[in-house]
Amino acid sequence: MTTPKTHRFDTLALHAGAAPDPTTGARATPIYQTASYVFPDTDHAAALFNMERAGHVYSRISNPTCAVLEERIAALEDGVGAIATASGQAALHLAIVTLMGAGGHIVASRALYGGSHNLLDYTLPRFGITTTFVDPRNLDAWRAAIRPETRLLFGETLGNPGLDVLDIPRVATLAHENGLPLLVDSTFTTPWLIQPFAHGADLIVHSATKFLSGHGVVIGGLLVDGGRFDWDADGVRERFPTLTEPYRGFHDMVFAEESTTAAFLLRARREGVRDFGACMAPFTAFQVLQGMETLPIRMARHVENTRALVAFLADHPMVESVGYPELPGHPDHALAARLLPRGCGAVFTFNLRGTREHGRRFIESLRLFSHLANVGDAKSLVIHPASTTHFRMSADDLREAGIGEGTIRLSVGLEDAGDLVDDLGRALHAAGKA
């Protein structure tokens, strides 16, 4: 059978968007550390400003190093394009404000990263955008929360911190039945574990700070457009005037007419990044690219190490429970087997038996695991969500999000799995003496 002439994932992770520098022959993607770009002549300048010619004008709007990263993540996600942002939070904000203004409404999973929850629950209402939070496993709750002013459904591929697996096919179908797009945060999974567009998602955000870069030295975000959602469909276009009506801020451009497949991306760049300005720095893009080159082999190792630690903890007498979807007792076990056959990532929680003091002793006795607020580093990390990442949530909300006082979250790194097991074993032993 004739096969499509396209490159596969591991090749794209190394090459997509990049080529040897035509001027110098440099093999690595150069860091184009420049604010602006010289115009050959005034006509060319005007054409660049008016989107009649392709190219860069000012690095807030686009930059050659960032553009390589944007193409690379779009290639790995099988999307049409992407925008690199100052942080994952900036990517989420950009997605939302591109689609709606005051009066807009979002239906979101309640199992979200604390920072996303802050934005949706506390901050955006001040700008007239409200969110209804639902149990991600309850499709009826998603359905019931949709209102005439709803513009977006949002969830995480793997909820934070309970690893609720988002049933992307079913939530996407519900969204599309209601003429709405589904945005997913795939930070915990990366495209190596799941490609959400293939399951029906329309937009993806990443914190590139995490597994994509893998080294924990940069803050960055990515917003990817799948290019399938029809913003101009009958019954849909009235909901998204930012994409389907003339925009006075860009010569009455109608973005959905300008680009059939990337209207969202176009508006996000030509308005959102231009005006809100939360762009990624080229040096950051360079560092994320260095990480993404090895994404496939790193993710395989992350998952392998995680499975070893999950198995160890699940059998340990000091451990009350382990929440990892590959375990038969996890509520999303079957769904995970279907959507995440390569593994459920390298972040998971477990509940320690005992009191808060046992938890404190455990964390302080670890030697290899670093106690900090991040995930997705090459080095193993640990945190106590109730007192850190989720401390703003009420006790009831914490319980609903599956977080207890003894819940410990691990982000498993790339160290030798035996050494990590030894570290956990030593700390559990110390905790047992508390």
Binding site: M1, A54, A74, V80, A262
Partner: protein, 263 residues
């Protein structure tokens, strides 16, 4: 711009500008399974530089209602009706691939109206493999993937899009995937069956430009030699390194060549 042709809704991108009878006009015609957006940069430039732009969606494509026209001649006849409806008497035509063949047929059909003819990525015959025709009939996503792979030069298959942040391969494939079921197959069959290029060329009296991708494997430059011979006064520009998707791969080179030709 929305209008009605043969009692069915049709759409043409005009650069968000009203048409001005005092300005010269350019009709852009897309290829199989595509729509007006393949001309995004070039059409926008002309719309903002002293031209009326009609970057049309062929019937059954983009925002124009079906049914798709089943032959190159039928597409040309529909285009003639569309331009009559819009009320533009004389115009240049720029076509890509199937759109190039349709533009050629339109120039022969309306020799007093078509003032200039630019043929991008044409071939005559434009043979389509059985494998692709079969995929287009039975497995459109696979057909979209095949066409996307063959339409881009080898370096561009790894990206490096002049348009920042857009993954060219993904965008091309997604546009093809959007085509309503059956339309891509009808388009490709129209390409495959068209055997009237020499006769059409004999009816063309206006200046002609050939724009060919050096690395075009969908419509290889050698496949256009007979048509070039039939239009001896035509100019030919070969875009170095470019594949069939030349408007996306080399947007500035395509624009510069069109600008020189249409001025």
């Amino acid at each position: 711009m929305r209008f009605v042709v043969r009692e069915r809704g049709a759409f043409a991108y005009t650069g968000a500008r009203p048409l001005d009878p005092a300005l010269p006009s350019v009709l852009f015609v897309h290829g199989a399974g595509n729509d007006h957006s393949v001309w995004a940069l070039q059409s926008r430039y002309f719309a903002h530089h002293g031209h009326n732009v009609i970057a049309i969606d062929l019937p059954g494509h983009g925002r124009s209602a079906g049914p798709p026209q089943a032959s190159v001649e039928a597409i040309a006849a529909w285009l003639a009706d569309a331009m009559a409806t819009i009320g533009i008497a004389r115009y240049a035509v720029v076509g890509h691939s199937l759109g190039a063949l349709s533009a050629l047929a339109l120039a022969a059909l309306q020799p007093t109206r078509v003032e200039r003819l630019a043929l991008l990525g044409p071939a005559a015959p434009m043979t389509v493999s059985d494998a692709l025709l079969d995929a287009a009939a039975h497995d459109q996503p696979r057909a979209a993937a095949l066409i996307t792979g063959w339409s881009h030069s080898t370096p561009r298959q790894l990206g490096g899009n002049p348009v920042p942040g857009v993954w060219m391969m993904g965008q091309a494939r997604r546009l093809l995937e959007r085509t309503a079921p059956g339309v891509l197959h009808i388009d490709l069959r129209a390409c495959h069956r068209y055997d009237d290029a020499a006769a059409a060329a004999a009816g063309v009296g206006c200046p002609v430009l050939f724009m060919l991708g050096e690395r075009d494997v969908m419509a290889p430059p050698r496949q256009v030699a007979a048509l070039q011979a039939a239009l001896p006064n035509a100019r030919t520009i070969v875009l170095p390194g470019a594949g069939h998707a030349m408007m996306a791969e080399e947007p500035d080179a395509v624009l510069d060549a069109l600008r020189d030709f249409l001025r």
